[in-house]
């Protein structure tokens, strides 16, 4: 396994299969949180953090427990429980040991349990990366690389969109399009732009 493979996985997850614009995961925070650049950065930092840990843990559980014991059908229920407990544990650790980090990410952590991007990436790793005869460490590396790329792509889009949003607020939008509709149109145009990257890798 060479490094290029991991780099490809990161770039592909970040730009080409962008989590918001191409896979439609995490639309709620995209429309809701990204009103200010600072909260957009906080949210995407929290998502990146939890996404990397969650995909490592879920991949491990699937490869080392669910598959050997022949019970892949409980993956959904196991994954959501793992992610939910992870979020709680991360919150405890931040509360105890890193007050500054908790201050910046704290309010976004409870929102993350029901953020479909996290569960979506964990499930996507199993369907896209996992194969029965792939060595554990290779698969884990690819899963983590995908999670890093997805988290970065999420942050990129949410940050870019929050900057556009600040402009939108001061521009003269027709009343019928104000708010969510014009945001969706902006997202559609961004999605068209990103569609041009399909097939690069």
């Amino acid at each position: 396994m060479s490094w290029t493979l991991f780099a490809t996985a990161i770039i592909s997850a970040m730009l080409i299969n962008n989590v918001i614009l191409m896979q439609f995961l995490g639309i709620c925070p995209f429309l809701g949180v990204s009103k200010r650049s600072s909260s957009a950065i906080g949210m995407s930092g929290a998502v990146l953090f939890v996404m990397v840990i969650a995909s490592a843990v879920t991949y491990t559980i699937y490869d080392l427990v669910l598959h050997p014991f022949d019970i892949p059908y409980i993956s959904t229920i196991a994954f959501i429980l793992v992610i939910a407990s992870l979020v709680q544990l991360v919150e405890i650790i931040l509360k105890r040991y890193s007050k500054s980090l908790y201050k910046s990410l704290g309010i976004y952590l409870p929102l993350i349990t029901t953020n479909c991007a996290i569960l979506g990436v964990s499930e996507g790793n199993i369907t896209n990366i996992w194969t029965a005869n792939m060595p554990y460490w290779n698969g884990l590396g690819l899963a983590v690389a995908t999670a890093v790329g997805t988290g970065l792509g999420f942050g990129l889009i949410i940050f870019a969109f929050s900057s556009i949003r600040e402009r939108l607020d001061s521009s003269n939008v027709p009343k019928a399009w104000k708010g969510v509709p014009i945001s969706l149109v902006v997202a559609g145009i961004m999605s068209l732009a990103f569609f041009g990257l399909v097939g690069v890798i």
Partner: protein, 279 residues
């Protein structure tokens, strides 16, 4: 105590109202913008939207029933975790059934089938309704809200599929009732019918020259950008209606106030005239 009772005064609604509220008044997608991820992702065709909607109806109704049944036995502290476990169980059941009976739909929905677990609508209904109401009410609420969600998905799905292909197909993903995929609607039918009617007029013969609507369809609408734009168009239409209603109300209010002012002014004038006359 008395104040609190007043605040939590529950307005009793009939079963029919409870069922119908999810379609227009409290539509999860169009009004509350809940569950936007599946609304954008699985609506590229009419059939996938219908399939997804029906799965959500099943999960929502059964999870509402179970949560309403166990609502008095769950300690308040572990409420949310228990709801997540119940919902995840039903999603696993649904996933197995779909994989067995409609494998094409299973592949088409992909990751969004397990993602029903984190659908805002289901957890939201569990917390806001099923945890406080009786079993029958919760079941009706779940059914109504789920069907409202399905309705919204199907509207988006029909719009996108029609713009992208020029017709509506059935039978590719849901292999029930039909043996082979059929067209529920095709714009070519209208064109052909029109041409046929024209040819009924004597001395006119007209052909379509191999024209089909699919040559002129916008394939973008079956792709991700089209999803955003079609949902934006629908939401803007709804907002346009709302804005116009508000403007109408505001204009009526303004007219009412102006009328009152005018009457007051006239009275004043009359009084002044009277005074002048007396003098």
């Amino acid at each position: 105590m008395g104040v609190k009772d007043k605040v939590i005064k529950v307005i009793k609604v009939s079963n029919k109202e409870n069922f119908l509220k999810g379609f227009v008044k409290e539509n999860p997608i169009f009004v509350f913008l809940l569950g936007m991820c599946p609304a954008l992702a699985v609506t590229s065709t009419f059939e996938t939207s219908l399939g997804m909607g029906l799965l959500v109806v099943f999960v929502l109704t059964s999870s509402n029933i179970v949560i309403s049944l166990i609502r008095n036995y769950i300690p308040n502290d572990v409420r949310t975790p228990s709801y997540i476990v119940v919902i995840a169980t039903f999603v696993t059941i649904v996933r197995m059934f779909t994989e067995r009976y409609s494998p094409d739909l299973y592949t088409a929905l992909g990751v969004f089938l397990p993602l029903i677990v984190v659908n805002c609508l289901i957890l939201g209904r569990a917390e806001a309704y099923a945890s406080k109401n009786k079993v029958l009410d919760s079941a009706i609420d779940g059914l109504g809200m789920g069907l409202g969600f399905t309705f919204a998905l199907v509207v988006i799905g029909i719009m996108r599929e029609f713009l992208a292909t020029g017709g509506i197909m059935y039978g590719n993903y849901l292999p029930f009732l039909v043996d082979a995929p059929i067209y529920l609607f095709n714009f070519d039918w209208i064109i052909n019918g029109f041409v046929y009617l024209l040819n009924l007029i004597p001395f006119i013969s007209f052909t379509t020259n191999g024209f089909t609507i699919s040559d002129y369809s916008l394939a973008m609408f079956s792709l991700p950008p089209g999803a955003f734009i079609s949902l934006a168009i629908i939401l803007a239409g709804i907002q346009f209606k709302k804005v116009r209603k508000e403007e109408k109300l505001a204009a009526e209010k303004k007219a009412f106030i102006a009328e009152k002012k005018r009457i007051a002014l006239e009275k004043k004038k009359a009084a002044a005239l009277k005074k002048v006359g007396e003098n």
